[in-house]
């Protein structure tokens, strides 16, 4: 009898303890960072904290290799197998929203008022995604190089002009100390070209597409400003300032550090490693080619899948993950820019006076997101090919005209991608 009572008591107690767990609704989440130990550790901690912080939802994560993540999502969308929470690269977001992979976030945008603009994925007037970090590009240099070549140190408020930038390259080339004056990372013909090089075009006054309508690239990618950009771009290679498209892939990791280049156009994800290897490295803002100095913005962000039955749960998780302590943890872990000033102050690199604080200022002052249109996916590829062709000696005007034709044809065949 005692045993029976004891067993019954245990069963009742177990049932009571299980109630909160059973009540939790499972949310699935896909992430692009498989193989990235630091990112995975931080994200798993956030998920663990979220799952124990409330009793309504439990998030489970599935990580994918970054290079094939977009293809996996597209295939899953076709098969009707998307998760609740999706990780999406900022410039791709409009395409996924337009294609019906994402639904608007059921969160008021004002909750992210202090986030850097590049970390908020807004399309068609609606907030679709929010990023836990941003990335920025800068001109890596050595202070000793600037001093030896007698160059002014540019600042965010007073960047180099086009003439000053070319004079710096000339001085580096004339010094005979470097194999090339500038490393642009030309071998990486994926997203890098549109992310890193389209800001040069925008600084000339052109763009990949006409942002006033998003219905054509005519005038933006082949107008006078774009032609001037194209000729300048080609001169970097014909003038021997930078290696062309067959550049050694190792250069972005070791070229500047080993002294092969005087300057390097690179992202802040390489900043920490470079600081370790180069004592007097300085991160300089983009030159101003006439229409203001620009850099790219927008990195990976979280959104809610259109198929999710629990958008409110997914939104709860995204809000939870966007706390300053997690933003700071990501920044300290992977070196990228925290989205809020308050989170920046909690980091070792981006707080006031921190070694990478410059990048936070760059993101605030210079950042311009890539064209916010579903057509960007195609436009980026066309832009990349055009820049590679011009670097390899193709006629500038013909190449840009052909790129415009290709972009316009794609917009036309997709009914304008929803732009009126």
């Amino acid at each position: 009898m005692n045993l029976t009572k004891h067993l019954a008591g245990v069963m009742i107690a177990s049932a009571c303890l299980c109630v909160p767990a059973l009540a939790q609704t499972k949310l699935t989440m896909w992430y692009h960072g498989a193989g990235n130990e630091v990112e995975s550790r931080i994200l798993n901690q956030i998920i663990s904290d979220f799952n124990t912080s409330q009793s309504d939802w439990t998030v489970s994560i599935e990580s994918f290799p970054e290079k094939s993540y977009n293809d996996s999502v597209a295939a899953a969308a076709l098969a009707g197998n998307l998760p609740d929470i999706l990780d999406v690269d900022g410039p791709i977001m409009p395409n996924w929203a337009w294609a019906g992979y994402l639904q608007p976030l059921p969160i008021d945008e004002s909750e992210f008022a202090d986030f850097l603009p590049g970390t908020k994925g807004v399309w068609d007037g609606k907030l679709y995604s929010v990023g836990l970090w941003d990335a920025a590009v800068a001109l890596f240099a050595r202070q000793s190089t600037l001093d030896e070549l007698g160059l002014r140190t540019p600042t965010v408020d007073k960047p180099w002009s086009s003439e000053e930038f070319m004079a710096a390259l000339d001085a580096a080339k004339a010094s005979g100390k470097y194999e090339f004056a500038l490393d642009l990372g030309m071998n990486d013909q994926a997203e890098w070209y549109s992310y890193a090089f389209s800001p040069f075009l925008q600084s000339f006054g052109g763009d990949i597409v006409d942002r006033s309508t998003y219905r054509t690239a005519e005038g933006a990618l082949n107008g006078e400003a774009a032609q001037a950009f194209g000729k300048w771009w080609q001169s970097l290679f014909t003038g021997g300032y930078a290696p062309g498209t067959s550049e050694d892939p190792a250069d972005q990791q070791t070229g500047f550090i080993n002294g092969k280049f005087a300057f390097q156009w690179n992202g802040n994800w390489r900043a920490v490693e470079t600081m370790k290897a180069v004592d007097d490295v300085v991160f300089l803002p983009a030159p101003d080619f006439g229409a203001g100095n620009k850099i790219g913005a927008g990195s990976w962000q979280f959104g809610v899948s259109a198929k999710s039955k629990y958008p409110e749960g997914a939104a709860e998780f995204i809000k939870f993950a966007a706390q300053d302590k997690y933003l700071a943890a990501f920044s300290d872990g992977i070196g990228l820019i925290p989205p809020t000033p308050s989170a920046a102050q909690m980091t070792k690199n981006y707080k006031d006076g921190g070694p990478l604080a410059m990048f936070f200022d760059l993101s605030k002052a210079q950042a311009l997101v890539r064209p916010v249109t579903p057509g960007y996916v195609v436009q980026a590829k066309v832009f990349t090919k055009a820049l590679a062709d011009i670097a390899n000696g193709a006629d500038v005007a013909d190449t840009l005209d052909a790129a415009v034709d290709e972009i316009d044809a794609d917009i036309e065949s997709n009914g304008g991608y929803g732009h009126q």
């Binding site: 896909w30 960072g33 498989a34 193989g35 990235n36 130990e37 599935e62 990580s63 994918f64 290799p65 970054e66 290079k67 094939s68 293809d71 996996s72 295939a75 899953a76 076709l78 098969a79 009707g80 197998n81 050694d248 190792a250 990791q253 070791t254 080993n258 992202g267 994800w269 390489r270 490693e273």
Partner: protein
């Protein structure tokens, strides 16, 4: 000293010299990969501009291997690939040889038309049917231990079943079967053997070379699978080695770990090939197929 074309020893020396040079060209990538897998990234990248890339010198260690195992579940990926590849190869040898037996020895209405259709599938690239196949397998039923389920995504079977039968393997078997002495088959039938007995008592015991060839070709296709598992597998539990390679390409690529991972996943292929090498070459020579 003038070159004497009748000097057998000299001719042999020149021939082997040329063959060794050609062999070196093919071996260089493997040597580079294995040597690089023991070097730290900085040294690996610096060595690429010299012959040091092909010799194990400098700061040599197993750190990249430890790093590879920390970054990705290498053992799981290899196990998945071996399981999927092994099952597909075995089932393919059985099903394709049976189909080929039917095409080669049985007389049935429409046989030539069906065989032509099978051969025609050789010119259809997989990429063109990947999406329709994805839509199909995502809705197929399956009865397992958990009862009736719909959809084959995120399973081993979705990586195996669509790849069992293929035109090339059937063609290889048909060509080989047609080269077997007809008298043997006739003798078997006269003695009262059923077609099934002819298949497994007479034909298959004589088909070692083509079995080895078909196994190696199917093994290479399956072990190198990338696109199909990429779109039908969304869970790490079922991922094969080639999709797993993506784990090593972050913003800062750990090249040493990439080389260590590639070395680890190449070893099973080399072992499999060396095991079946003689039969493979014999079969290639007899069927006239060139890679």
């Amino acid at each position: 000293m003038a070159f004497d074309p009748d000097n057998y020893g000299l001719r042999l020396f020149v021939r082997y010299l040329v063959l060794c040079l050609i062999a070196l060209i093919f071996i260089f990538p493997l040597v580079f990969m294995i040597n690089s897998s023991f070097k730290p990234d900085n040294q690996l990248l610096a060595d690429t501009s010299s012959l040091r890339a092909f010799v194990p010198v400098g700061d040599i260690s197993l750190n990249n291997y430890f790093g590879a195992f920390r970054r990705a579940p290498v053992g799981l990926f290899v196990l998945n690939s071996v399981l999927v590849t092994g099952a597909t190869v075995l089932l393919s040898l059985l099903i394709c040889s049976l189909a080929a037996f039917s095409f080669a020895f049985l007389r049935w209405k429409g046989r030539d038309v069906v065989f032509s259709i099978v051969i025609a599938t050789l010119i259809i690239p997989f990429e063109t049917i990947a999406i329709p196949l994805l839509l199909l397998v995502s809705k197929l039923p399956w009865i397992g231990l958990e009862g009736l389920q719909w959809g084959w995504l995120n399973t081993y079977r979705v990586q195996i079943i669509p790849w069992i039968a293929d035109g090339l393997t059937i063609f290889l078997f048909v060509q080989y079967f047609k080269g077997l002495p007809g008298e043997l088959i006739e003798a078997g039938r006269v003695e009262g053997a059923s077609w099934w007995q002819v298949y497994y008592r007479i034909v298959m015991p004589l088909s070692g070379p083509v079995l080895a060839t078909a196994a190696i070709l199917k093994f290479l296709v399956m072990y190198n699978q990338y696109l199909w598992p990429l779109i039908v597998v969304q869970q790490e539990t079922y991922r094969p080695v080639m999709v797993g390679l993506g784990y090593f390409f972050q913003l800062n690529v750990a090249w040493g770990e990439v080389m260590a991972y590639l070395t680890l996943i190449t070893v099973p292929v080399l072992i499999f090939y060396l095991f079946l090498q003689r039969a493979f070459i014999a079969s290639i020579a007899s069927t006239g197929v060139k890679g």
